[in-house]
């Protein structure tokens, strides 16, 4: 076996050992060394040069990046996640036929979908979704993300929240917690428009707070315009902005002038 490959494999074994005993600092240092080592393999993307042990190299590299992605979730570092995922993606997309698909592929792709959802990058979410074959949509991890997006768009927020209990993979919990925060803001925004007032206990339940104190704190921090009196939350203040009945004169003048100009051109 190639000495370079053995060296990287050994280093990766040390990384895995560090990961197993939850020594995250050691993991990070080892990972950056590993990434430097990977640049020395010519068979990896984007070069894809044919080499006698390119299959081993590709597999090892994919494995390393998969671990990098999972590690970034553990470190709760979204930027690192995006970086590592971008590096990992060519291994899923462009190496079919060279190496067999990885068992971790769909969980990680699903995780990425979830991340895009949390960051509210819906357009990218759908672009990624189009890349997946039909059978991938059946996979629980992908399906989970797709259904979440649907519930989110519909406004069935309680379905989003109950999905947290049924995560298909332990790494998903981090993003699901983030999603719960997004959902709370959404619910608050909707309630503001949908209700005149809510009793404090209802509001507490709807916004998923366990005590009145937390609710009070949230209201003062995020929505100081809400009013609490007689054991209810009143949203009315936000509704006061009536549609103004004024004639949009400037706009009308502009339009009429442009008609005149165009007509002059015709005649």
């Amino acid at each position: 076996m190639d000495p370079k490959l053995t060296e990287v494999a050994q280093m990766f074994a040390r990384f895995k050992a560090a990961y197993a005993r939850n020594d995250l600092d050691a993991c990070v240092t080892l990972l950056s060394q590993l990434k430097v080592q990977l640049t020395k393999f010519p068979s990896l993307p984007p070069l894809f040069q044919q080499a006698p042990n390119s299959v081993e190299e590709l597999k090892l590299a994919r494995d390393i990046y998969e671990h990098a992605v999972v590690l970034s979730v553990k470190l709760e570092d979204q930027d690192a996640f995006e970086r590592d995922f971008c590096q990992l993606k060519p291994y899923y997309m462009d190496t079919c036929g060279i190496i067999p698909p990885s068992p971790e592929e769909y969980p990680i792709l699903g995780l990425n979908l979830l991340r895009l959802l949390v960051q509210n990058r819906i357009a990218e979410f759908h672009t990624e979704l189009e890349l997946l074959p039909v059978k991938a949509l059946e996979h629980p991890c992908i399906k989970h993300a797709v259904e979440l997006e649907q519930s989110f768009m519909e406004g069935a927020y309680n379905r989003v929240l109950s999905a947290r209990q049924a995560v298909p993979h332990e790494t998903y919990v981090y993003f699901m917690d983030l999603l719960a925060k997004t959902v709370r803001d959404e619910i608050a925004g909707c309630s503001e428009k949908g209700y005149d007032s809510l009793s404090i206990s209802d509001a507490k339940q709807m916004l998923m707070f366990s005590s009145d104190q937390e609710l009070n704190q949230y209201i003062t921090e995020e929505h100081p315009e809400w009013e609490i009196k007689n054991g209810s939350v009143f949203f009315q203040k936000a509704k006061e902005s009536q549609p103004c009945k004024e004639i949009p004169s400037l706009q009308l003048i502009n339009q009429t002038l442009s008609y005149a100009r165009e007509l002059e051109r015709i005649v």
């Binding site: 819906i122 357009a123 990218e124 759908h126 672009t127 979704l129 189009e130 890349l131 039909v134 797709v146 649907q150 768009m153 519909e154 406004g155 069935a156 927020y157 309680n158 379905r159 109950s162 959404e186 619910i187 925004g189 909707c190 309630s191 503001e192 428009k193 949908g194 209700y195 005149d196 809510l198 009793s199 209802d202 949009p248 009308l252 339009q255 008609y259 165009e262 051109r265 015709i266």
Partner: protein
Amino acid sequence: MPEDVEMNDSAATAAAADAPAPAQSTLHHLKEIASVIEAGSLSKEVRRISRAFRLTIALRRRLAARDVAAFLAFALPPSSEAFARLAALVPKEDGSEMDVDAAAPTAQVSIKHGLPEIEIYCYLLVLIFLIDNKKYDEAKTCASASIARLKSLNRRTVDVLASRLYSYYSDVHELTNTLAEIRGTLLALHRMATLHHDELGQETLLNLLLRNYLHYNLYDQAEKLRSKAPRFEAHSNQQFCRYLFYLGKIRTIQLEYTDAKESLLQAARKAPTTAQGFRIQCNKWAIIVRLLLGEIPERTVFMQKGMKEALTPYFELTNAVRVGDLELFRSVADKFSSTFSADRTCNLIVRLRHNVIRTGLRNISISYSRISLADIAKKLRLDSENPVADAESIVAKAIRDGAIDATIDHANGWMVSKETGDVYSTNEPQIAFNSRIAFCLNMHNEAVKALRFPPNSHKEKESAEKRRERLQQEEELAKHMAEEDDDDF
């Protein structure tokens, strides 16, 4: 004498179009086309080359191996590399000698050897012939050879033929499902076309690249290329239609529905009536996008001539969305799932679910001034563990997004619709009126821009006027002189 040549040419075109096979052999036609190309090449008129290509397409069905072989022998110097390469690709047939000999003396066309336009034309002809005869491997060889040759040429008169060659090159690879392999070549060609200021080539290649990316659902890459590629006014209507279609598709995937709708409808409208398949595709996508926007396409869209059958699944889908019935929507989606997955619109249809609920909700809110949330859940047929809570949050979101105008009473568990105001008391009609006027004015301007004038006609007219003026002046001068002469005597 440019006008005379023009006349002869159009006469030849008319003859070629009017008198089909029996009068003149295919070979004769090919030779005539070659002379058109030659004339175009010498006078540097791109229009003639494109006409030559159109004539070739008319001949396409009647091309036979012997015609192609004979034409190659006629058009290319026998010692040239291109001749050797192309002749090897065309299959030999026996018993062709007689025909060729009989045709040769009647055809009094002769052309100059060694014009690059003719050489490229030969490549194109052989390529078309091979594709029509389903000899894809040979076609690939031929296409790659022609692309290699094209890279060493830089003539504006070749561009028209080159852009056609690019399309066929990509076609062959699509037919053999090897599109991914040529992406690099296409990108290199696009760069070359940009450097040569070959705008038609750029247009064609950009479309081919977009098609290439979209074939593999690589919307991200397609959009990145599209947004960075240089844009200019379209040269070919067909390419522009394609561009609009691809653009519409990309925007649909990226949820920019309003822009997508515009592009798709424009593509469907601009496409020539003969491009039925293309128009059907455009319409399918346009229908889905309009549904996603919350619009309901008119019935006439589905009843267009020759499209009724293809659009039936989409018609039923529209119906389900219009009624706002989730159950019906689900059954339609299942019933035509094979069609939808063939059109690759499955994921879009999944997105539509949300619109079905919205429409249903809007219908409910119009019909009832007050309705309990449990009834809403029942009417929308929400099937989950906690339909009332679902209904409540869905209604709340619909209110926030402005889809319905209502309030929820949480304590009693019902929704109270607000009275809908008179639409004519708002600015709504004014806005609609403005957008229509803008559309008409824009159309007029586009029409004016699209008017075509033959080149130089403006100048010639001026010179004719000047000549008349000059003659008049000379006449007057002569008169004066005559008068002066008279005076003298």
